[in-house]
């Protein structure tokens, strides 16, 4: 069973019409509410969990995700901002930070990208690579990377195929692509999954903390 470190904060989801109330898994309503709360304000998945369906839960505090701590995520080959195909397996042998973000040129994603940029030396010092993934096309990534002088790779997950394969949970009842970061060790095993939609800079803090302990 997963244990979640949930901040004790008011849930935005309670203000909005909820699909969960019509969801067949109605007994999981409270858990879904807690899920949304944690996704906004940061949740670290520290243990593995059992259910395969994204965002549906059983029990008290379970988040389902296909890629979780301790697992080896499915490989992918996506185009980078220069149109070149980049495979995840290329990064084996060193730690890699894979962060899924909603879209280029949105406020949170810009903050997050710039935060990764500003701390890039620390990531390099830890021997880690940084990869950002969103559904935008390579030309959008190219413009985004150029505008903000991003030194790392941005990959185009057009159709959000990899996002779905990795089970990145969506926010606000499926209306927003989630913001989730994975840290893989040099063996390609996930050591951290961090989710936080509205505090993007925290992804950098959490991943650096973990990298320093690897």
């Amino acid at each position: 069973m997963a244990s979640l470190s949930l901040p004790n904060q008011y849930s935005l989801s309670s203000l909005l019409p909820t699909q969960a109330r019509q969801h067949p898994f109605s007994r999981n309503r409270r858990v879904l509410s807690k899920l949304s709360q944690s996704q906004f304000y940061g949740v670290k998945l520290s243990n593995s969990i059992s259910l395969p369906i994204p965002c549906s839960c059983s029990g008290k505090s379970v988040i389902s995700a296909k890629v979780k701590k301790g697992s080896v995520p499915p490989s992918f080959a996506l185009k980078d901002q220069d149109g070149k195909s980049v495979s995840l397996s290329k990064f084996k042998g060193k730690p890699v930070v894979v962060y899924f973000y909603p879209a280029d040129e949105t406020p949170g994603c810009t903050k997050q990208a710039c935060a990764f940029r500003d701390s890039y030396e620390k990531f390099k010092k830890a021997g880690a690579q940084v990869i950002g993934i969103s559904g935008d096309d390579p030309s959008s990534h190219k413009a985004f990377a150029k505008k903000y002088r991003l030194p790392f790779t941005l990959l185009s997950d057009e159709g959000n195929k990899v996002r779905k394969e990795w089970g990145v949970p969506a926010d606000l009842f499926g209306t927003l692509p989630g913001r989730e970061t994975y840290v893989l060790d040099k063996n390609g095993v996930v050591q951290l999954v961090y989710n936080n939609q509205f505090q993007p800079e925290k992804h950098i803090d959490e991943t650096l903390k973990l990298l320093q302990s690897l």
Binding site: F40, P102, T106, P107, G108, L172, L176
Partner: protein, 305 residues
């Protein structure tokens, strides 16, 4: 005489012209609340007008409104709308009080009145957010308001120079059309408790907004006290809305919702939903254009003061 005075603009006129032309300036400030950010002492350091005698209002550029701009003055049409708006609100409140007195139910009308006051603040924020971020001068129904709000961000000081009825008449008209049918069709004191307070707060929100742009020394002590108590939107809270990135503190009645809405990223979430579902991008996501950025070149604003 001001160039702008040659143009007679009413609230209902829509001007879809480039922002550098005079009609746009008049339309923009017509619905505006603006502020003066300058203190009286600053006036004395201003540059003298170069081409126009000191006794006439000064316009340094065609776009910048002057303090004696006739579009800041109230007309009889404005006053009529404010009068009708106030009448409908007062009738609603009177119905609530009289109904409560005759039924001996005071708690419910009072409570819903407080709810109305709170929801008016929330509604002002949502409306303000929408107008600030979406649409343009050519948007049907809202174009003039959108343009006016953009102009307000460019010249926030003008709202403090706008006469009372001029400032409130647009909201007063909306309140008249909304509350009058309720007054005619309903006698329930609880409903009128909510409607009267909510509509009154909405109608006067532009006045609260104007006061939020005022300086402490120039505001009535009672207004300052209400602002300090958090019962009216404070000057400091609203000033934050006029600073980059212009995406917070949208509520302008009491401002009680501002901290919650900003801390919980409510508007950011709504913006993201609209972006991903409809592909519309809010203005606050991009660097402000010249039409949006505050004009801090103040000499022409203050010369005629």
């Amino acid at each position: 005489m001001s160039i702008l005075a040659q143009n007679n603009f009413t609230l209902s006129s829509h001007h879809h012209v480039h922002t550098t032309s005079l009609p746009i300036v008049c339309a923009r400030i017509h619905c505006l609340a603006a502020t003066t950010k300058t203190k009286p002492s600053h006036d004395r350091r201003l540059i003298e007008p170069q081409f126009i005698p000191p006794s006439t209002p000064v316009i340094v550029t065609a776009n910048r409104p002057s303090l004696n701009d006739p579009t800041l003055l109230s007309t009889w049409s404005h006053r009529a709308w404010v009068a009708t708006g106030c009448t409908t609100v007062l009738v609603s409140l009177a119905k609530s009080i009289m109904g409560a007195a005759s039924s001996h139910i005071w708690l419910e009308p009072t409570l819903v009145g407080l709810v109305g006051y709170a929801l008016a603040d929330l509604g002002s924020g949502v409306y303000h957010w929408g107008i600030d971020n979406y649409g343009s001068a050519s948007t049907p129904g809202f174009g003039a308001q959108i343009e006016a709000f953009q102009g307000h961000h460019k010249w926030p000081w003008t709202i403090t120079r706008r006469q009372f009825a001029n400032n409130l008449h647009a909201l007063a008209r909306a309140v008249t059309f909304t509350v009058l049918p309720i007054n005619l069709l309903c006698d329930d004191p609880v409903i009128h408790g909510f409607v009267g307070v909510c509509s009154g707060c909405i109608m006067f929100s532009q006045q609260f907004h104007a006061w939020a742009h005022g300086t402490k020394s120039r505001l009535p002590p009672l207004v300052v006290a209400l602002q300090d108590l958090g019962l009216l939107v404070s000057r400091s809270q609203h000033a934050a809305h006029h600073r980059p990135p212009y995406n917070n503190n949208y509520c302008i009645v009491s401002g009680v919702w501002n901290e919650f809405l900003d801390k919980k990223n409510v508007f950011e979430a709504l913006e993201l939903i609209l972006f991903f579902k409809l592909g519309v991008r809010p203005r606050s996501w991009d660097e402000p254009t010249s039409e949006w950025t505050e004009d801090t070149d103040t000499p022409s604003q203050i010369i005629a003061n």
